[in-house]
Symmetry: C2
Subunit: 103 residues, 2 copies
DNA sequence: GAATACCACTACACTTTCTGTAGTTGATAC
DNA sequence: GTATCAACTACAGAAAGTGTAGTGGTATTC
């Protein structure tokens, strides 16, 4: 059945949605807006996320240009994940989710 | 590691995120904002979604109070899915995704 | 009046994704 | 030297998503 008024969902909306439509992504982003930068900071802020899933999400967000990964040459070496400009733009989405959530 | 400033992700944000963090949800919502109400309208607007997944998403959105399902006693009987107030409130989230998506 | 098409799905086998727990490597803390 | 931390990886099993076929009752087309 065709809907006279329904346009198909635009490709770019699908692509952006694909980023969010995986478990824990919103929480990981929330944590980063709260200041988390290190693996275990994300882990503790997000709570129940399994480490394998967190690792995967961080790689995906890096690949998507939302986070940048920096290895800091200290002893022991540390890793930091920092928001990119792109990542900061996503805050509006997470804020909208949070606004929907409370109330 | 504890992050002095990171608060744990609030439970209600997790719950709201859980709604969105499943494949196709954003597209299904988009379609409903565009005026889709019937199964095959959603199907055509969303495109590549498998019918089983669409059926499942519609049930979940109904359970979440985002859509309401009405069976219309015509020949053949039809089904309509209409946005609830709650569902209309979610539009801000989808709009934010769309805003992020273009450009 | 036979064949085809529409509608709103369901069924099923298969693949992908997610989960939970354990373990690794190298350094520092007690 | 025992324990702990940081940032992960490995792996088996569970859950979610995919693709295709089919269903049952109209309705439309030839």
């Amino acid at each position: 059945m065709r809907c006279r008024s329904c346009r198909p969902v635009p490709e770019e909306v699908r692509r952006a949605a694909g980023l969010l439509e995986r478990r824990w992504v919103v929480s990981v982003l929330w944590a980063s807006y709260e200041g988390a930068t290190r693996f275990n900071e994300f882990k503790q802020a997000v709570g129940a996320i399994p480490p394998g899933t967190l690792a995967q999400r961080l790689v995906e967000l890096e690949d998507a240009g939302v986070l940048e990964r920096f290895v800091i040459d200290a002893r022991p070496p540390r890793v930091e994940y920092r928001l990119t400009e792109e990542g900061r733009r996503l805050k509006l989405v997470v804020d909208a989710v949070a606004a929907f959530a409370d109330r």
